[in-house]
């Protein structure tokens, strides 16, 4: 049976795909943004939300292990950037994604060490930036209901995957190890990652929906719902609600 024990093969960007100059550049960009996030995440984290952040990172690590089949002979896995940003906030999400990618690169040899900056840039910075931006945009025009928040999260999660894939194509154009027609790289990357985006959206909606069902007050991206949630839920505190 093929499914008896598949080698888990998450596969992030390995060493070698991009030249040293590009890897150093993404490394500097990633390090700078993570340093900024260490400062900014403070506003998103308190005694109640910090434990959820650690849990979300652990869940993203676990979720990324599950490669799901997409088209014939291909698989995809969760990124988790939108899921994390909606649950605990975008700056905290960057810290969580970086922790996941660091553990994967160092302990599990998944994603190269010299490519760590690239992976943080793509699956942390870019996926959070685009995904959370799209989430905010959609949430602003959708009804301030649970369904509205979940629709925005699903749409953002879907788009975050091809966005990260296309950004990789851009990096490959700048510093790919070999000269290849960009169209071929772009079309190969986009098609399969659009399909993977559907899985990303499904997992994101399921997880955010589950947390919204039990603790809507803890969900960063559902702050607009807090008043409504507080009516049917135990009110946190006046000070907590005012934050």
């Amino acid at each position: 049976m093929q499914t008896m024990c598949n080698k888990v093969d998450v596969v992030h960007v390995p060493d070698g795909f991009l030249d040293p100059a590009t890897s150093v550049s993404t490394g500097v960009l990633a390090a700078g943004t993570v340093a900024l996030a260490l400062n900014r995440a403070r506003a998103e984290l308190d005694d109640r939300t910090a434990p959820l952040a650690g849990l979300t990172a652990a869940f993203v690590f676990a979720g990324q292990m599950i490669n799901f089949p997409v088209a014939a002979g291909t698989s995809g896995h969760l990124i988790g950037a939108v899921l994390t940003a909606v649950l605990v906030g975008p700056w905290t999400a960057l810290l969580c994604m970086t922790a996941v990618l660091l553990v994967q690169a160092v302990l599990f040899a998944d994603g190269g060490l010299t490519a760590l900056g690239t992976n943080v840039t793509l699956m942390g910075l870019l996926a959070v930036l685009v995904g959370y931006g799209v989430f905010r945009g959609l949430a602003a025009v959708l009804p301030r209901t649970r369904t509205g928040v979940l629709t925005a999260a699903g749409g953002a999660a879907f788009l975050s995957v091809p966005a990260a894939a296309l950004t990789f194509v851009g990096l490959f154009a700048l510093g790919g190890a070999v000269d290849l027609p960009l169209g071929a790289v772009a079309s190969a990357m986009t098609g399969v990652h659009l399909l993977i985006g559907l899985g990303e959206a499904a997992i994101t909606v399921a997880v955010v929906g589950a947390v919204l069902a039990v603790r809507p007050d803890l969900v960063h991206g559902a702050q607009g719902l807090r008043t409504a949630a507080a009516l049917q839920d135990r009110r946190p505190t006046a000070a907590g609600a005012a934050r």
Partner: protein
């Protein structure tokens, strides 16, 4: 943490451990999107082995042993290490002393 917060956290950790330790046995072994695209477009051969390939947990297997215990244990270790790292960092940078002394 309130008791409901603690319940959510414990349930969440158990789910993450189960996903990484057990559900991962059934993950698809097909090449993932990037790997597939790299083969299609013709740059898969430029991948280099990781400097950490000698890690006892490389490729999510304990010492490269391809069995459920090895894969499951790797997943469990990964969840716990990630929980410790991300949980530790976010706990350290959080705002201290929630207003009104809640929790």
């Amino acid at each position: 943490m309130t008791s409901r917060g603690r319940t959510l956290w414990i349930v969440g950790v158990v789910v993450a451990l189960a996903v990484a330790g057990i559900v991962s046995w059934y993950a698809s072994g097909s090449p993932d999107g990037l790997e597939w695209a790299a083969e299609q477009a013709g740059f898969a051969h430029t991948a280099e082995g990781s400097a950490t390939a000698g890690s006892p947990f490389a490729d999510y297997l304990w010492n490269g042993e391809e069995n459920r215990l090895s894969a499951g244990a790797s997943g469990v270790v990964g969840v716990l290490v990630t929980l410790g790292l991300a949980g530790g960092v976010t706990w350290l940078v959080r705002r201290r002393g929630t207003p009104a002394g809640k929790n």
